[in-house]
């Protein structure tokens, strides 16, 4: 079963990438306000756009990439 020499390390590597991502979420305070995080997707942005954007969309702004 030489194939396992490839599949198990590849699988473990993906697990390590996942674990790394999980630790990143811990360090970047992703789990500080879980109930707020769950509720915020229910609301659109809380104020309408400034009026001039709606009436005069003349100039094109390049989005920063």
């Amino acid at each position: 079963m030489t194939i396992l020499v490839i599949l198990i390390p590849v699988t473990l590597l993906m697990g390590i990438v996942g674990l790394g991502a999980f630790f990143w979420t811990l360090h970047s305070n992703q789990y500080e306000d879980l109930s707020g995080d769950a509720e915020r997707i229910l609301f659109d942005d809380d104020r309408p756009l400034p009026a001039q954007n709606v009436q005069a969309p003349a100039k094109l702004k390049e989005t920063p990439s």
Partner: protein, 550 residues
Amino acid sequence: MMSNLTGAERTSAMLISGMGVVIGLTMAIVGRNDVMGAQGWIVLAFSAVVFFMVANALYHPEPTEDRTTSYYDDPTKVGIVLALVWAVVAMGIGVWVAAQLAWPGLRFDAAWSSFGRIRPVHTSGVIFGFGGNALIATSYHIMQRTSRARMPDQVTPWFVLLGFNLFCIIAASGYLMGVTQSKEYAEPEWYADIWLVVVWVAYFVLYIRTLARRNEPHIYVANWYYLAFILVVAVLHIVNNLAIPASLAGAKSYSAFSGVQDAMTQWWYGHNAVAFFLTSGFLGMLYYFLPKRADRPIYSYRLSILSFWGITFFYIWAGSHHLHYTALPHWVQTLGMTFSVMLLIPSWASAGNALMTLNGAWHKVRDDATLRFMMVAAVFYGLSTFEGSFMAIRPVNALSHYTDWTIGHVHAGAMGWVALITFGSIYALTPVLWHRERMYSAKAVEWHFWLALAGTVIYVFAMWNSGITQGLMWRTYTQSGTLRFSFTDTLIAMHPYYVARALGGLLFVTGACIGFWNVIMTIRHVSKQNRELDHPTSPKATEPVLPVAE
């Protein structure tokens, strides 16, 4: 749609599709003595259509919209319509395939219409064409809304969406011509596989770039499910498709692995394609659209995150349960079986979480067929994950494997879970995307729901009965120790179930046709509704939407 692209974006779109034309022409010339040549002409035609559409609009006036004030929804819209087209076509072919099993004469004696060629058109068409387009389209919507940010550019999303559809077309047309590497759900040959890697890497980079621009501190859980789907599918696809082409001028290739090694790689891929394509991505859909539609936050957000990491770490080890009682070492089979049983925990956590979210909103489930689609999808998700864990247990597998029970299980998942959550999401998304007040016909949604549910139940019950009958007949011995039934006896016993299955599929595809009609009518005839608050948070805002928690 073209008018929203700047001149520079139109030029790069032309360059990319122009490269597609060159690649197609090269394939057609190099592979002229092989079916690869015909595939090359298809690549050429597809790229040429895109090229001329862009070229036609190349010198149109520059767009005037202010990109900081809106999300980029054009590719999402096209993706939703494409998903529905694939649904109608691929499910329709599914009914034909099913009918061929009951009435073999329906093949009409052509090579291209034989069971072995049109079955993968059905499976790939539903999984990749319908499911894949729906996943890409909804992910574009969800990544922008939950990040409160617009996608970073306007060419990559088109490249991913159209490039993926080109892959699906090459795959499906190839099957009809007999191009296959005979790996289930990974049938396309080497050139299509390489192309998919390019598209998929662009998709992953696009997703990460959008998240990096987010105006919201938290990355919503649905995004994690989509990210796992994209990343893991990429790795699985690359490893399973490692192959050496017999010739660069032909479609045929040989797998880098052989025998049971190849089987193990295939089911490591195959089961995780179910896990990360058909489960993880669609859970992302569920975790966004179900709370949105019910207008209630997910019951336990903590549990949704736990089940995400549970699925991510458990699922990947379960593939070897497809190879019980084979040459695969016993301990590898046991490993797969053990992880399959453990998977029940994160799976039911998600299903239960979805249903508990509806507590207090059951009146909405009663009145709103869209939400009912999602509710029933969660129920089928719970049912089919239980069934999957159960069937992975070795002695159960001894009865169920190689029988129609497996087909029933797959369809409980694909129709009951994947398709229902997708239709529910499409009905929730269509009015938002096209700025409409509502769907064109609520009654049609209701009809679609009941047709889909009836079709799924008929199909799954027929296959359970057929599979168990078949499995029991195969293992019945006479007193003298010989097999009691011939293979033909089992075929005769299965005939009524095959008729029932074709009927169930017909009901299901009828529902899908009604859904397609309803979406088109919504786009064309329902009056507009302004959605003032549906825009990215301005980077110029002096404070974040909500203060970052302590």
